[in-house]
């Protein structure tokens, strides 16, 4: 009885009695969710256009952030470093198309998936060799990103918002909105979806696989860079960041692997769910539930809607 009270009643009583804390928790959940959404977005882009779950997306986040900071540390001005990093991501996209995707045209998806594992280790190795394995500090000020925080008085208490978080939320929303329109309504977007559905049919109507793949991998690289900057500004730039890629998995299951709006909504649900769970229900389990709660949410979701909230319907004629 006491346990039931603790699970179903007590957390809500707490929420009601300290609304400012609730708002603070929701805000933090929202920000974490937006950042998860950014990572998930990188996955969705590549999944949509090649049907491949790109395991290397996480390391691409780290690699791009490391390149940016590493260049700055070697005396390159911040914005020039940013431009060069964008160039590096473009070269990476070209290299992936030429040396990974092109030789594997028409292979089963599992083989392409394995290839992205290989890519992950190559990038880890290259990153460590060039920039070293030590954590680095993101050059937030130099990129003119806001620092500090607003403290808002509300609901009989205070809610604190980091300016960088607000910036992250805005940038992520803009990226998601433009990509969603782009995919749904334009020739290139349609070509991207076509390639995901059938390589040979796409080829037969004159869609160039090379062009499409370079485009999506470059776009995913830019998304990775944005993610790297935002996450890096909150913690440090280190290889530990790579595991946030695993957090994208429940987000994708929730939002659907093929949906861009799904990525952001899934991200927010997971982010907010995690923070609320940790804060209000965490003590019951001795805390630390943040690390696994997302997977439980995703698992429950899979039972009811295997294609995700916004995923394309699974159609099979038998």
């Amino acid at each position: 009885m006491h346990l039931l009270y603790q699970i179903f009643i007590d957390p809500f009583v707490q929420m009601g009695s300290a609304p400012d804390l609730l708002v603070q928790t929701l805000w933090e959940g929202l920000v974490a969710g937006v950042l998860y959404a950014l990572i998930a977005l990188g996955f969705v882009l590549i999944f949509k256009a090649s049907g491949v779950f790109n395991f290397a997306q996480g390391i691409m986040v780290v690699f791009s952030a490391l390149t940016l900071v590493g260049l700055y540390e070697h005396g390159v001005p911040a914005f020039l470093a940013l431009a060069i990093t964008v160039g590096v991501m473009f070269v990476l996209a070209l290299a992936v198309e030429r040396f990974v995707l092109r030789p594997l045209v028409n292979q089963a998806e599992i083989i392409l998936f394995m290839a992205t594992f290989g890519l992950t280790y190559i990038l880890i190795g290259a990153g460590e060799m060039i920039f070293g394995g030590d954590p680095k500090v993101m050059i937030t000020d130099q990129l003119l990103l806001p620092t500090g925080s607003y403290t808002i008085k509300m609901l009989g208490g205070f809610v604190q918002m980091q300016k960088i978080d607000i910036a992250a939320a805005i940038i992520a929303s803009l990226m998601v909105a433009s990509l969603a329109v782009f995919f749904q309504k334009t020739r290139v977007g349609r070509a991207l979806r076509a390639v995901a559905d059938s390589h040979r049919a796409a080829l037969s109507v004159g869609i160039s696989l090379e062009y499409i793949w370079v485009t999506v991998w470059f776009a995913a690289g830019i998304v990775a860079l944005a993610t790297g900057i935002m996450w890096g500004a909150r913690s440090n730039v280190s290889f530990a960041l790579e595991i946030i890629a695993l957090k994208a998995l429940p987000v994708l299951i929730l939002g659907g692997f093929t949906s861009i709006p799904g990525a952001i909504i899934g991200g927010v649900i997971i982010g907010v769910g995690e923070k609320l769970g940790e804060f209000y229900w965490g003590p019951l389990f001795g805390s630390g539930i943040e690390s696994w709660l997302a997977y439980v949410i995703a698992l429950v979701f899979l039972l009811f809607r295997p294609q995700g909230l916004f995923g394309e319907r699974i159609i099979e004629r038998i």
Binding site: F182, S204, I207
Partner: protein
């Protein structure tokens, strides 16, 4: 303009010719030393028993396979190698034996995808979906609606193709190929798995495409009735070798063809 079929009627100039083409996969000879031509405006059938190399031949023509020997001459240009993407730009469209559509996309989007190579506005405008890119999108949408009308698939234009019955999927695939406005249309068993009524519809569409758009068509088909009715000239392959080439009437009475289909007493 459709020339009456009959012996020795030249439909037009040669659009595509295949010269001494050979292709093998490891030890298996899929196509060996095959030559034939396709003339402007005709319907050319490629027939033969299973495993005769018919689909390999189509794959060579649209650049999916590179022949190891021989040349292909298309619109006066000789080549030994071509990528599928270039073939599509050159005006060769095709359908597939086992339908290859973009299953998750609607009928409309599938056919619009066929317009990809006709759309030229740059990436930046596309990203904004504004100005020239939007005008272009509308213009192409108009063309696509004409094709949808032509194929009588108006009422399913918003349906994801994966949900459609097989016969309609074949029709959508034809629509997508037409959307590229091809000079040469390759149809790989357009009537496979259809009932008589569906076959008649599809035959009608093939003839109409040939008439209205003046499109040259090369098709692979197993239904001999259909082949004899539709085509102006027929080329017969068996075990990768060309065994006959001529009008339907000539083919019907050709000794070699009858042997290939029915077997020879040894």
């Amino acid at each position: 303009m459709r020339a009456p079929s009959g012996p020795d009627v030249a439909v037009g100039d040669v659009l595509l010719s295949v010269e001494n083409v050979s292709l093998s996969f490891g030890g298996v000879k899929a196509v060996s030393d095959v030559s034939f031509d396709i003339r402007k405006g005709e319907i050319r059938a490629i027939i033969g028993p299973n495993g005769a190399g018919k689909t390999s031949m189509l794959n060579i023509i649209n650049g999916f396979y590179q022949p190891q020997q021989g040349r292909i001459n298309f619109k006066g240009e000789t080549r030994s190698k071509m990528r599928p993407h270039d073939a599509a730009y050159g005006g060769i469209a095709r359908t597939f034996q086992n339908v290859a559509l973009f299953r998750g996309m609607t009928v409309l989007d599938n056919i619009m995808a066929g317009r990809t190579l006709k759309m030229h506005k740059n990436f930046f405008w596309q990203l904004l979906r504004f100005g020239p890119a939007l005008t272009e999108e509308v213009e192409h949408r108009h063309r696509v609606e004409q094709i949808i009308d032509f194929l009588k698939i108006q009422e399913i234009r918003r349906t994801p193709v994966g949900r459609l019955p097989y016969g309609l999927q074949k029709r959508v695939e034809l629509g997508r190929a037409l959307a590229t406005e091809p000079d040469l249309l390759l149809l790989d068993e357009p009537m496979a798995g259809m009932n008589i009524e569906e076959k008649e519809d599809m035959s009608r569409f093939v003839l109409d495409v040939n008439d209205h758009y003046g499109t040259t068509i090369a098709l692979i088909e197993h239904d001999m009735g259909v082949v004899m009715d539709l085509s102006d000239r027929v080329v017969v392959l068996d075990h990768g070798i060309k065994i006959a080439d001529g009008t339907p009437d000539e083919i019907k009475t050709d000794r070699g063809v009858i042997d290939a289909y029915l077997g020879v007493a040894h």
